[in-house]
Symmetry: C2
Subunit: 309 residues, 2 copies
Amino acid sequence: MILTVTLNTALDLTYHVPVLRTHASHRVTEVRERPGGKGLNVARVLAALGHEVTVTGFTGGATGRAVRDLLTGTAGVVDALVPVTGATRRTVAVVDARTGDTTQLNEPGPVIAPAEWSAFQEAYEGLLGDADAVALCGSLPPGVPVGAYAVLVRAARAAGVPVLLDTSGEPLRRGVAARPDVIKPNTDELAELTGSHDPVRATQDARRRGAHAVVASLGAEGFLAVTPEGRWRATPPRRVHGNPTGAGDSAVAGLLSALVEQLPWPDRLSRAVALSAATVASPVAGEFDRTAYEELLGRVTVTALATAA
Amino acid sequence: MILTVTLNTALDLTYHVPVLRTHASHRVTEVRERPGGKGLNVARVLAALGHEVTVTGFTGGATGRAVRDLLTGTAGVVDALVPVTGATRRTVAVVDARTGDTTQLNEPGPVIAPAEWSAFQEAYEGLLGDADAVALCGSLPPGVPVGAYAVLVRAARAAGVPVLLDTSGEPLRRGVAARPDVIKPNTDELAELTGSHDPVRATQDARRRGAHAVVASLGAEGFLAVTPEGRWRATPPRRVHGNPTGAGDSAVAGLLSALVEQLPWPDRLSRAVALSAATVASPVAGEFDRTAYEELLGRVTVTALATAA
Protein backbone atom coordinates (compact mmCIF):
# COMPACT_ATOMS: atom_id res chain seq x y z
CA MET A 1 0.00 0.00 0.00
CA ILE A 2 0.87 3.67 -0.27
CA LEU A 3 0.87 5.63 3.00
CA THR A 4 -0.04 9.29 3.13
CA VAL A 5 0.57 11.40 6.23
CA THR A 6 -1.56 14.47 6.99
CA LEU A 7 -0.60 15.84 10.39
CA ASN A 8 -3.04 18.76 10.02
CA THR A 9 -6.15 17.03 8.63
CA ALA A 10 -9.17 19.24 8.04
CA LEU A 11 -12.87 19.25 7.49
CA ASP A 12 -13.01 21.23 4.23
CA LEU A 13 -16.19 23.29 3.84
CA THR A 14 -17.12 25.00 0.59
CA TYR A 15 -19.75 27.75 0.82
CA HIS A 16 -21.44 29.28 -2.21
CA VAL A 17 -22.77 32.82 -1.78
CA PRO A 18 -24.36 35.01 -4.47
CA VAL A 19 -21.82 37.82 -3.87
CA LEU A 20 -19.27 38.07 -1.05
CA ARG A 21 -19.02 41.50 0.58
CA THR A 22 -16.90 42.24 3.63
CA HIS A 23 -18.85 43.46 6.69
CA ALA A 24 -22.16 42.16 5.28
CA SER A 25 -24.35 39.19 6.25
CA HIS A 26 -24.70 36.33 3.76
CA ARG A 27 -27.07 33.45 3.31
CA VAL A 28 -24.98 30.48 2.17
CA THR A 29 -26.86 28.87 -0.75
CA GLU A 30 -24.80 25.68 -0.99
CA VAL A 31 -22.62 23.82 1.53
CA ARG A 32 -20.18 20.99 0.71
CA GLU A 33 -18.12 19.04 3.24
CA ARG A 34 -15.21 16.77 2.54
CA PRO A 35 -12.18 15.32 4.29
CA GLY A 36 -9.26 17.69 3.76
CA GLY A 37 -5.59 18.27 4.26
CA LYS A 38 -3.13 17.56 1.45
CA GLY A 39 -2.41 13.93 2.34
CA LEU A 40 -6.11 13.03 2.33
CA ASN A 41 -6.50 14.67 -1.09
CA VAL A 42 -3.49 12.69 -2.38
CA ALA A 43 -5.04 9.50 -0.97
CA ARG A 44 -8.37 10.11 -2.71
CA VAL A 45 -6.62 10.48 -6.09
CA LEU A 46 -4.42 7.41 -5.49
CA ALA A 47 -7.54 5.36 -4.62
CA ALA A 48 -9.25 6.60 -7.78
CA LEU A 49 -6.19 5.37 -9.74
CA GLY A 50 -6.71 1.90 -8.22
CA HIS A 51 -4.06 1.92 -5.49
CA GLU A 52 -4.48 0.67 -1.94
CA VAL A 53 -3.92 3.66 0.31
CA THR A 54 -3.68 4.10 4.06
CA VAL A 55 -4.03 7.55 5.58
CA THR A 56 -2.56 8.60 8.89
CA GLY A 57 -2.11 11.83 10.83
CA PHE A 58 -4.16 13.34 13.65
CA THR A 59 -7.91 13.51 14.14
CA GLY A 60 -10.03 14.76 17.05
CA GLY A 61 -13.30 16.30 18.19
CA ALA A 62 -16.60 16.51 16.35
CA THR A 63 -14.85 17.75 13.19
CA GLY A 64 -12.49 14.77 13.34
CA ARG A 65 -15.47 12.40 13.62
CA ALA A 66 -17.00 14.09 10.56
CA VAL A 67 -13.74 13.59 8.63
CA ARG A 68 -13.64 9.89 9.57
CA ASP A 69 -17.31 9.43 8.63
CA LEU A 70 -16.62 10.97 5.21
CA LEU A 71 -13.49 8.81 4.77
CA THR A 72 -15.54 5.68 5.47
CA GLY A 73 -17.41 6.44 2.26
CA THR A 74 -14.20 6.70 0.20
CA ALA A 75 -13.53 3.32 -1.44
CA GLY A 76 -9.92 2.11 -1.33
CA VAL A 77 -8.80 4.37 1.52
CA VAL A 78 -7.94 2.79 4.90
CA ASP A 79 -8.27 5.11 7.93
CA ALA A 80 -5.27 4.83 10.29
CA LEU A 81 -5.64 8.32 11.77
CA VAL A 82 -4.41 8.73 15.34
CA PRO A 83 -6.93 10.24 17.80
CA VAL A 84 -6.00 13.37 19.77
CA THR A 85 -7.75 15.46 22.41
CA GLY A 86 -7.94 18.65 20.32
CA ALA A 87 -10.41 19.10 17.47
CA THR A 88 -9.52 18.70 13.80
CA ARG A 89 -9.51 22.13 12.13
CA ARG A 90 -11.98 23.37 9.54
CA THR A 91 -11.15 25.21 6.36
CA VAL A 92 -13.83 27.34 4.72
CA ALA A 93 -13.68 28.20 1.00
CA VAL A 94 -16.24 30.91 0.22
CA VAL A 95 -17.05 30.91 -3.50
CA ASP A 96 -18.52 34.11 -4.93
CA ALA A 97 -21.06 32.82 -7.47
CA ARG A 98 -20.84 36.03 -9.52
CA THR A 99 -17.07 35.96 -10.14
CA GLY A 100 -16.21 32.34 -9.28
CA ASP A 101 -13.42 33.66 -7.01
CA THR A 102 -12.70 31.97 -3.70
CA THR A 103 -11.94 33.51 -0.30
CA GLN A 104 -10.22 31.02 1.99
CA LEU A 105 -10.34 30.83 5.81
CA ASN A 106 -8.09 28.22 7.44
CA GLU A 107 -8.31 27.35 11.14
CA PRO A 108 -4.87 26.68 12.70
CA GLY A 109 -5.56 23.13 13.90
CA PRO A 110 -5.52 21.51 17.34
CA VAL A 111 -2.57 21.78 19.72
CA ILE A 112 -0.82 18.40 19.71
CA ALA A 113 0.56 17.25 23.09
CA PRO A 114 4.07 15.72 23.25
CA ALA A 115 2.56 12.31 24.16
CA GLU A 116 0.27 12.50 21.09
CA TRP A 117 3.23 13.25 18.82
CA SER A 118 5.08 10.25 20.32
CA ALA A 119 2.01 8.02 19.81
CA PHE A 120 1.86 9.15 16.20
CA GLN A 121 5.52 8.32 15.55
CA GLU A 122 4.98 4.82 16.92
CA ALA A 123 1.90 4.28 14.74
CA TYR A 124 3.75 5.67 11.71
CA GLU A 125 6.70 3.33 12.16
CA GLY A 126 4.30 0.40 12.36
CA LEU A 127 2.56 1.48 9.14
CA LEU A 128 5.88 1.87 7.28
CA GLY A 129 6.32 -1.92 7.52
CA ASP A 130 3.57 -2.42 4.91
CA ALA A 131 4.23 0.69 2.81
CA ASP A 132 5.59 0.73 -0.75
CA ALA A 133 5.96 4.51 -0.56
CA VAL A 134 5.00 7.33 1.78
CA ALA A 135 3.93 10.93 1.18
CA LEU A 136 4.34 13.52 3.96
CA CYS A 137 1.98 16.38 3.19
CA GLY A 138 1.02 19.84 4.32
CA SER A 139 1.39 22.10 7.32
CA LEU A 140 2.14 21.12 10.92
CA PRO A 141 -0.50 21.67 13.61
CA PRO A 142 0.54 23.67 16.71
CA GLY A 143 2.61 21.66 19.18
CA VAL A 144 4.31 19.41 16.63
CA PRO A 145 8.05 20.19 16.52
CA VAL A 146 9.15 22.14 13.44
CA GLY A 147 11.63 19.35 12.68
CA ALA A 148 8.82 16.74 12.57
CA TYR A 149 9.19 15.98 8.87
CA ALA A 150 12.93 15.42 9.25
CA VAL A 151 12.13 12.77 11.88
CA LEU A 152 9.51 11.13 9.62
CA VAL A 153 11.80 11.23 6.55
CA ARG A 154 14.59 9.52 8.49
CA ALA A 155 12.24 6.81 9.77
CA ALA A 156 11.03 6.09 6.20
CA ARG A 157 14.58 5.93 4.87
CA ALA A 158 15.62 3.65 7.75
CA ALA A 159 12.69 1.36 6.80
CA GLY A 160 13.71 1.45 3.11
CA VAL A 161 10.45 3.14 2.05
CA PRO A 162 10.66 5.84 -0.66
CA VAL A 163 9.46 9.13 0.82
CA LEU A 164 8.00 12.22 -0.87
CA LEU A 165 7.81 15.46 1.14
CA ASP A 166 5.32 18.18 0.16
CA THR A 167 5.36 21.07 2.61
CA SER A 168 6.73 24.60 2.87
CA GLY A 169 8.71 27.01 5.04
CA GLU A 170 10.84 25.85 7.93
CA PRO A 171 9.30 22.32 8.05
CA LEU A 172 10.41 21.90 4.40
CA ARG A 173 13.89 23.29 5.10
CA ARG A 174 14.39 20.89 8.01
CA GLY A 175 12.80 17.98 6.14
CA VAL A 176 14.99 18.42 3.06
CA ALA A 177 18.12 18.15 5.20
CA ALA A 178 16.97 14.62 6.17
CA ARG A 179 17.34 13.60 2.49
CA PRO A 180 13.83 12.71 1.22
CA ASP A 181 13.61 10.87 -2.10
CA VAL A 182 11.39 13.51 -3.71
CA ILE A 183 10.16 17.02 -2.90
CA LYS A 184 7.52 18.82 -4.99
CA PRO A 185 7.74 22.54 -4.21
CA ASN A 186 6.06 25.27 -6.23
CA THR A 187 8.15 28.24 -7.30
CA ASP A 188 7.29 30.28 -4.17
CA GLU A 189 8.20 27.41 -1.84
CA LEU A 190 11.40 26.81 -3.78
CA ALA A 191 12.37 30.49 -3.61
CA GLU A 192 11.69 30.54 0.14
CA LEU A 193 13.86 27.42 0.56
CA THR A 194 16.78 28.51 -1.59
CA GLY A 195 16.58 32.30 -1.84
CA SER A 196 16.62 32.03 -5.66
CA HIS A 197 13.73 32.97 -7.95
CA ASP A 198 15.36 31.21 -10.93
CA PRO A 199 13.62 27.78 -11.01
CA VAL A 200 16.59 25.97 -12.62
CA ARG A 201 19.10 27.34 -10.15
CA ALA A 202 16.72 26.91 -7.19
CA THR A 203 15.91 23.31 -8.13
CA GLN A 204 19.60 22.43 -8.28
CA ASP A 205 20.19 24.20 -4.98
CA ALA A 206 17.34 22.23 -3.35
CA ARG A 207 19.08 19.01 -4.40
CA ARG A 208 22.34 20.19 -2.84
CA ARG A 209 20.38 20.81 0.39
CA GLY A 210 19.49 17.10 0.53
CA ALA A 211 16.52 16.16 -1.70
CA HIS A 212 17.42 13.27 -4.03
CA ALA A 213 14.91 14.46 -6.64
CA VAL A 214 13.24 17.84 -6.93
CA VAL A 215 10.05 18.16 -8.98
CA ALA A 216 9.34 21.88 -9.14
CA SER A 217 5.81 22.88 -10.06
CA LEU A 218 5.76 25.74 -12.58
CA GLY A 219 1.96 26.09 -12.36
CA ALA A 220 0.25 25.95 -15.77
CA GLU A 221 3.70 25.48 -17.41
CA GLY A 222 4.09 21.97 -15.95
CA PHE A 223 7.10 20.69 -14.01
CA LEU A 224 10.88 20.93 -13.92
CA ALA A 225 12.49 17.78 -12.50
CA VAL A 226 16.09 17.35 -11.39
CA THR A 227 16.82 13.76 -10.35
CA PRO A 228 19.78 11.39 -9.97
CA GLU A 229 18.74 9.84 -13.34
CA GLY A 230 18.48 13.06 -15.31
CA ARG A 231 16.75 16.42 -15.74
CA TRP A 232 13.43 17.00 -17.53
CA ARG A 233 10.83 19.59 -18.38
CA ALA A 234 7.27 18.19 -18.55
CA THR A 235 4.63 20.40 -20.18
CA PRO A 236 0.87 19.93 -20.72
CA PRO A 237 -0.30 19.98 -24.37
CA ARG A 238 -2.40 23.09 -23.76
CA ARG A 239 -3.26 25.60 -21.07
CA VAL A 240 -6.16 24.22 -19.05
CA HIS A 241 -8.62 26.68 -17.53
CA GLY A 242 -10.39 26.04 -14.25
CA ASN A 243 -9.84 25.82 -10.51
CA PRO A 244 -6.25 24.98 -9.47
CA THR A 245 -7.34 23.78 -5.99
CA GLY A 246 -5.83 20.33 -5.40
CA ALA A 247 -3.76 20.29 -8.61
CA GLY A 248 -0.55 19.96 -6.55
CA ASP A 249 -2.01 17.08 -4.53
CA SER A 250 -2.99 15.28 -7.75
CA ALA A 251 0.57 15.75 -9.02
CA VAL A 252 1.90 14.11 -5.83
CA ALA A 253 -0.49 11.20 -6.38
CA GLY A 254 0.75 10.89 -9.98
CA LEU A 255 4.40 10.86 -8.94
CA LEU A 256 3.82 8.31 -6.16
CA SER A 257 1.63 5.96 -8.15
CA ALA A 258 4.16 5.85 -11.01
CA LEU A 259 7.00 5.42 -8.50
CA VAL A 260 5.45 2.32 -6.92
CA GLU A 261 4.75 0.97 -10.43
CA GLN A 262 8.52 1.44 -11.04
CA LEU A 263 7.97 3.60 -14.11
CA PRO A 264 10.90 5.71 -15.37
CA TRP A 265 10.98 9.42 -14.53
CA PRO A 266 9.51 10.69 -17.83
CA ASP A 267 6.41 8.53 -17.26
CA ARG A 268 6.13 9.69 -13.66
CA LEU A 269 6.22 13.30 -14.82
CA SER A 270 3.65 12.70 -17.58
CA ARG A 271 1.29 11.25 -15.03
CA ALA A 272 1.85 14.19 -12.65
CA VAL A 273 1.22 16.74 -15.40
CA ALA A 274 -1.88 14.98 -16.77
CA LEU A 275 -3.45 14.47 -13.32
CA SER A 276 -2.67 18.02 -12.32
CA ALA A 277 -4.24 19.48 -15.49
CA ALA A 278 -7.23 17.11 -15.23
CA THR A 279 -7.81 18.43 -11.70
CA VAL A 280 -7.80 22.05 -12.91
CA ALA A 281 -10.27 20.99 -15.63
CA SER A 282 -12.70 19.29 -13.21
CA PRO A 283 -15.87 21.18 -12.33
CA VAL A 284 -15.56 19.88 -8.73
CA ALA A 285 -12.67 21.55 -6.86
CA GLY A 286 -9.94 19.07 -5.92
CA GLU A 287 -11.20 16.16 -8.01
CA PHE A 288 -9.77 15.11 -11.36
CA ASP A 289 -11.71 14.65 -14.58
CA ARG A 290 -10.91 11.07 -15.65
CA THR A 291 -11.69 11.59 -19.34
CA ALA A 292 -9.47 14.67 -19.46
CA TYR A 293 -6.72 12.74 -17.62
CA GLU A 294 -6.73 9.86 -20.09
CA GLU A 295 -6.80 12.23 -23.05
CA LEU A 296 -3.99 14.42 -21.67
CA LEU A 297 -1.73 11.56 -20.52
CA GLY A 298 -0.47 10.63 -23.98
CA ARG A 299 0.03 14.24 -25.02
CA VAL A 300 2.33 15.57 -22.28
CA THR A 301 5.70 16.74 -23.65
CA VAL A 302 8.69 15.55 -21.62
CA THR A 303 12.02 17.04 -22.73
CA ALA A 304 15.35 15.89 -21.37
CA LEU A 305 17.57 18.81 -20.38
CA ALA A 306 21.34 18.95 -20.54
CA THR A 307 23.05 18.09 -17.26
CA ALA A 308 24.01 21.11 -15.17
CA ALA A 309 27.58 22.27 -15.43
CA MET B 1 -39.34 26.72 33.95
CA ILE B 2 -39.07 28.97 30.92
CA LEU B 3 -39.11 27.22 27.53
CA THR B 4 -37.23 28.60 24.55
CA VAL B 5 -37.77 27.24 21.04
CA THR B 6 -35.04 27.43 18.40
CA LEU B 7 -36.17 25.59 15.27
CA ASN B 8 -32.99 26.54 13.40
CA THR B 9 -30.29 25.92 16.04
CA ALA B 10 -26.73 26.55 14.96
CA LEU B 11 -23.14 25.91 15.80
CA ASP B 12 -21.90 29.52 15.93
CA LEU B 13 -18.25 29.92 14.93
CA THR B 14 -16.34 33.17 15.40
CA TYR B 15 -13.12 33.53 13.41
CA HIS B 16 -10.60 36.30 14.03
CA VAL B 17 -8.40 37.24 11.09
CA PRO B 18 -5.83 40.06 10.98
CA VAL B 19 -7.52 41.63 7.91
CA LEU B 20 -10.31 40.15 5.78
CA ARG B 21 -9.81 40.52 2.03
CA THR B 22 -12.10 38.95 -0.55
CA HIS B 23 -10.41 36.43 -2.88
CA ALA B 24 -7.43 36.03 -0.53
CA SER B 25 -6.37 33.18 1.78
CA HIS B 26 -6.46 33.77 5.55
CA ARG B 27 -4.97 32.06 8.55
CA VAL B 28 -7.62 32.21 11.29
CA THR B 29 -5.84 33.33 14.47
CA GLU B 30 -8.66 32.58 16.92
CA VAL B 31 -11.65 30.21 16.75
CA ARG B 32 -14.61 30.23 19.15
CA GLU B 33 -17.52 27.78 19.08
CA ARG B 34 -20.80 28.11 20.90
CA PRO B 35 -24.36 26.86 20.70
CA GLY B 36 -26.32 29.30 18.56
CA GLY B 37 -29.69 30.27 17.29
CA LYS B 38 -31.66 33.00 19.04
CA GLY B 39 -33.54 30.73 21.47
CA LEU B 40 -30.31 29.18 22.75
CA ASN B 41 -28.87 32.67 23.31
CA VAL B 42 -32.02 33.69 25.20
CA ALA B 43 -31.73 30.54 27.33
CA ARG B 44 -28.11 31.24 28.24
CA VAL B 45 -29.01 34.73 29.51
CA LEU B 46 -32.06 33.42 31.41
CA ALA B 47 -29.89 30.79 33.08
CA ALA B 48 -27.33 33.45 34.01
CA LEU B 49 -30.20 35.41 35.65
CA GLY B 50 -30.97 32.33 37.76
CA HIS B 51 -33.98 30.92 35.89
CA GLU B 52 -34.58 27.27 35.10
CA VAL B 53 -34.66 27.02 31.32
CA THR B 54 -35.45 24.22 28.90
CA VAL B 55 -34.43 24.52 25.25
CA THR B 56 -36.11 22.75 22.38
CA GLY B 57 -35.94 22.85 18.60
CA PHE B 58 -34.11 20.61 16.12
CA THR B 59 -30.61 19.16 16.27
CA GLY B 60 -28.78 16.73 13.99
CA GLY B 61 -25.46 15.55 12.58
CA ALA B 62 -21.94 16.17 13.90
CA THR B 63 -22.68 19.89 14.29
CA GLY B 64 -25.80 19.04 16.33
CA ARG B 65 -23.70 16.78 18.59
CA ALA B 66 -21.25 19.65 19.05
CA VAL B 67 -24.13 21.99 20.03
CA ARG B 68 -25.43 19.46 22.57
CA ASP B 69 -21.93 18.91 24.00
CA LEU B 70 -21.54 22.68 24.46
CA LEU B 71 -25.04 22.93 26.05
CA THR B 72 -24.11 20.22 28.55
CA GLY B 73 -21.54 22.66 29.92
CA THR B 74 -24.12 25.46 30.36
CA ALA B 75 -25.41 25.39 33.95
CA GLY B 76 -29.18 25.80 34.36
CA VAL B 77 -30.10 24.87 30.77
CA VAL B 78 -31.97 21.59 30.15
CA ASP B 79 -31.56 20.13 26.64
CA ALA B 80 -34.89 18.96 25.17
CA LEU B 81 -33.82 19.31 21.52
CA VAL B 82 -35.50 16.93 19.07
CA PRO B 83 -33.12 14.86 16.88
CA VAL B 84 -33.47 15.04 13.08
CA THR B 85 -31.68 13.33 10.18
CA GLY B 86 -30.21 16.51 8.68
CA ALA B 87 -27.25 18.33 10.21
CA THR B 88 -27.55 21.44 12.37
CA ARG B 89 -26.29 24.46 10.42
CA ARG B 90 -23.15 26.45 11.14
CA THR B 91 -22.88 30.22 11.20
CA VAL B 92 -19.47 31.81 10.72
CA ALA B 93 -18.75 35.35 11.98
CA VAL B 94 -15.44 36.56 10.56
CA VAL B 95 -14.06 39.40 12.67
CA ASP B 96 -11.52 41.70 11.02
CA ALA B 97 -9.08 42.46 13.86
CA ARG B 98 -8.03 45.76 12.27
CA THR B 99 -11.50 47.32 12.05
CA GLY B 100 -13.50 45.11 14.45
CA ASP B 101 -16.11 44.69 11.69
CA THR B 102 -17.83 41.33 11.21
CA THR B 103 -18.66 39.47 8.00
CA GLN B 104 -21.38 36.88 8.56
CA LEU B 105 -21.94 33.59 6.69
CA ASN B 106 -25.08 31.64 7.63
CA GLU B 107 -25.74 28.10 6.42
CA PRO B 108 -29.43 27.52 5.60
CA GLY B 109 -30.02 24.65 8.03
CA PRO B 110 -31.16 21.06 7.56
CA VAL B 111 -34.30 20.13 5.62
CA ILE B 112 -36.92 19.07 8.18
CA ALA B 113 -39.14 16.17 7.12
CA PRO B 114 -42.92 16.35 7.79
CA ALA B 115 -42.63 13.52 10.35
CA GLU B 116 -39.87 15.45 12.16
CA TRP B 117 -42.03 18.57 12.32
CA SER B 118 -44.89 16.46 13.75
CA ALA B 119 -42.57 14.87 16.31
CA PHE B 120 -41.42 18.35 17.35
CA GLN B 121 -45.00 19.60 17.84
CA GLU B 122 -45.73 16.64 20.08
CA ALA B 123 -42.59 17.23 22.16
CA TYR B 124 -43.38 20.96 22.37
CA GLU B 125 -46.92 20.36 23.64
CA GLY B 126 -45.53 18.05 26.32
CA LEU B 127 -43.01 20.69 27.42
CA LEU B 128 -45.67 23.42 27.60
CA GLY B 129 -47.19 21.54 30.57
CA ASP B 130 -44.27 22.62 32.78
CA ALA B 131 -43.64 26.04 31.23
CA ASP B 132 -44.25 29.41 32.91
CA ALA B 133 -43.55 31.18 29.62
CA VAL B 134 -42.27 30.31 26.16
CA ALA B 135 -40.13 32.20 23.63
CA LEU B 136 -40.31 31.28 19.95
CA CYS B 137 -37.13 32.56 18.33
CA GLY B 138 -35.44 32.99 14.99
CA SER B 139 -35.68 31.72 11.44
CA LEU B 140 -37.33 28.52 10.20
CA PRO B 141 -35.18 25.77 8.69
CA PRO B 142 -36.14 24.49 5.21
CA GLY B 143 -39.12 22.10 5.27
CA VAL B 144 -40.89 23.66 8.24
CA PRO B 145 -44.16 25.27 7.09
CA VAL B 146 -44.09 29.08 6.97
CA GLY B 147 -47.08 29.13 9.34
CA ALA B 148 -45.17 27.11 11.96
CA TYR B 149 -45.05 29.89 14.54
CA ALA B 150 -48.80 30.46 14.25
CA VAL B 151 -49.29 26.79 15.18
CA LEU B 152 -46.89 27.05 18.12
CA VAL B 153 -48.44 30.34 19.35
CA ARG B 154 -51.91 28.76 19.31
CA ALA B 155 -50.69 25.70 21.23
CA ALA B 156 -49.11 27.92 23.92
CA ARG B 157 -52.25 30.02 24.25
CA ALA B 158 -54.41 26.89 24.46
CA ALA B 159 -52.14 25.68 27.29
CA GLY B 160 -52.38 29.06 29.04
CA VAL B 161 -48.65 29.74 28.70
CA PRO B 162 -47.59 33.34 27.89
CA VAL B 163 -45.78 33.33 24.52
CA LEU B 164 -43.21 35.75 23.09
CA LEU B 165 -42.48 35.59 19.36
CA ASP B 166 -39.18 36.94 17.97
CA THR B 167 -38.83 36.30 14.26
CA SER B 168 -39.17 38.22 10.98
CA GLY B 169 -40.73 38.21 7.53
CA GLU B 170 -43.61 35.92 6.63
CA PRO B 171 -43.19 33.65 9.71
CA LEU B 172 -43.68 36.81 11.86
CA ARG B 173 -46.69 37.96 9.83
CA ARG B 174 -48.39 34.56 10.19
CA GLY B 175 -47.37 34.22 13.83
CA VAL B 176 -48.74 37.64 14.79
CA ALA B 177 -52.15 36.70 13.42
CA ALA B 178 -52.27 33.86 15.99
CA ARG B 179 -52.22 36.51 18.77
CA PRO B 180 -48.95 36.05 20.71
CA ASP B 181 -48.64 37.84 24.06
CA VAL B 182 -45.50 39.74 23.05
CA ILE B 183 -43.51 40.39 19.89
CA LYS B 184 -40.12 42.15 19.91
CA PRO B 185 -39.40 43.37 16.37
CA ASN B 186 -36.66 45.81 15.44
CA THR B 187 -37.59 48.77 13.24
CA ASP B 188 -36.77 46.91 10.00
CA GLU B 189 -38.87 43.89 10.98
CA LEU B 190 -41.68 46.19 12.06
CA ALA B 191 -41.57 48.12 8.77
CA GLU B 192 -41.62 44.84 6.83
CA LEU B 193 -44.63 43.66 8.86
CA THR B 194 -46.67 46.84 8.68
CA GLY B 195 -45.36 48.81 5.71
CA SER B 196 -44.75 51.83 7.97
CA HIS B 197 -41.33 53.28 8.85
CA ASP B 198 -42.82 55.39 11.68
CA PRO B 199 -42.15 53.29 14.82
CA VAL B 200 -45.15 54.65 16.76
CA ARG B 201 -47.58 54.05 13.93
CA ALA B 202 -46.02 50.68 13.03
CA THR B 203 -46.12 49.47 16.66
CA GLN B 204 -49.83 50.31 16.92
CA ASP B 205 -50.46 48.62 13.58
CA ALA B 206 -48.66 45.47 14.77
CA ARG B 207 -51.02 45.33 17.76
CA ARG B 208 -54.02 45.61 15.45
CA ARG B 209 -52.62 42.65 13.50
CA GLY B 210 -52.86 40.48 16.61
CA ALA B 211 -49.94 40.94 19.02
CA HIS B 212 -51.18 41.74 22.56
CA ALA B 213 -48.01 43.70 23.34
CA VAL B 214 -45.42 45.04 20.93
CA VAL B 215 -41.94 45.90 22.22
CA ALA B 216 -40.18 47.61 19.34
CA SER B 217 -36.40 47.76 19.53
CA LEU B 218 -35.06 51.18 18.51
CA GLY B 219 -31.42 50.00 18.67
CA ALA B 220 -29.24 52.22 20.87
CA GLU B 221 -32.31 54.39 21.62
CA GLY B 222 -33.95 51.64 23.69
CA PHE B 223 -37.51 50.35 23.26
CA LEU B 224 -41.00 51.55 22.48
CA ALA B 225 -43.69 49.36 24.08
CA VAL B 226 -47.40 49.34 23.31
CA THR B 227 -49.29 46.99 25.63
CA PRO B 228 -52.82 46.45 26.97
CA GLU B 229 -51.65 48.15 30.21
CA GLY B 230 -50.13 51.24 28.65
CA ARG B 231 -47.45 52.69 26.34
CA TRP B 232 -43.83 53.44 27.32
CA ARG B 233 -40.49 54.57 25.98
CA ALA B 234 -37.53 52.93 27.77
CA THR B 235 -34.12 54.51 27.20
CA PRO B 236 -30.63 53.58 28.42
CA PRO B 237 -28.84 56.25 30.52
CA ARG B 238 -26.07 56.60 27.94
CA ARG B 239 -25.06 55.34 24.53
CA VAL B 240 -23.09 52.11 25.01
CA HIS B 241 -20.37 51.28 22.51
CA GLY B 242 -19.51 47.72 21.53
CA ASN B 243 -20.79 44.73 19.62
CA PRO B 244 -24.61 44.58 19.24
CA THR B 245 -24.58 40.79 18.51
CA GLY B 246 -27.07 39.12 20.84
CA ALA B 247 -28.43 42.37 22.31
CA GLY B 248 -31.92 41.52 21.01
CA ASP B 249 -31.75 38.02 22.51
CA SER B 250 -30.74 39.50 25.87
CA ALA B 251 -33.72 41.86 25.65
CA VAL B 252 -36.03 38.87 25.10
CA ALA B 253 -34.51 37.19 28.17
CA GLY B 254 -35.09 40.38 30.18
CA LEU B 255 -38.74 40.63 29.11
CA LEU B 256 -39.44 36.95 29.81
CA SER B 257 -37.67 36.78 33.16
CA ALA B 258 -39.56 39.86 34.41
CA LEU B 259 -42.81 38.46 33.01
CA VAL B 260 -42.52 35.18 34.96
CA GLU B 261 -41.59 37.24 38.05
CA GLN B 262 -44.89 39.12 37.45
CA LEU B 263 -43.19 42.50 37.40
CA PRO B 264 -45.10 45.44 35.90
CA TRP B 265 -44.29 46.57 32.34
CA PRO B 266 -41.93 49.45 33.28
CA ASP B 267 -39.73 46.99 35.22
CA ARG B 268 -39.82 44.49 32.37
CA LEU B 269 -38.65 47.21 29.99
CA SER B 270 -35.90 48.41 32.35
CA ARG B 271 -34.57 44.89 32.52
CA ALA B 272 -34.69 44.50 28.71
CA VAL B 273 -32.86 47.81 28.17
CA ALA B 274 -30.19 47.13 30.82
CA LEU B 275 -29.50 43.57 29.61
CA SER B 276 -29.40 44.69 26.02
CA ALA B 277 -26.93 47.50 26.75
CA ALA B 278 -24.84 45.24 29.00
CA THR B 279 -24.58 42.79 26.09
CA VAL B 280 -23.34 45.51 23.75
CA ALA B 281 -20.81 46.49 26.44
CA SER B 282 -19.48 42.95 26.90
CA PRO B 283 -16.11 42.15 25.33
CA VAL B 284 -17.45 38.67 24.42
CA ALA B 285 -20.04 38.83 21.61
CA GLY B 286 -23.48 37.69 22.76
CA GLU B 287 -22.75 37.63 26.50
CA PHE B 288 -23.74 40.32 28.95
CA ASP B 289 -21.47 42.15 31.37
CA ARG B 290 -23.04 41.56 34.78
CA THR B 291 -21.47 44.59 36.45
CA ALA B 292 -22.65 46.84 33.64
CA TYR B 293 -26.12 45.25 33.85
CA GLU B 294 -26.47 45.91 37.57
CA GLU B 295 -25.18 49.45 37.21
CA LEU B 296 -27.47 50.23 34.23
CA LEU B 297 -30.61 48.61 35.66
CA GLY B 298 -31.43 51.42 38.11
CA ARG B 299 -30.65 54.13 35.58
CA VAL B 300 -32.94 53.23 32.68
CA THR B 301 -35.52 55.95 31.97
CA VAL B 302 -39.05 54.63 31.41
CA THR B 303 -41.54 57.27 30.27
CA ALA B 304 -45.28 56.64 30.01
CA LEU B 305 -46.68 57.91 26.71
CA ALA B 306 -50.14 59.28 26.12
CA THR B 307 -52.60 56.69 24.83
CA ALA B 308 -53.02 56.74 21.06
CA ALA B 309 -56.00 58.61 19.72
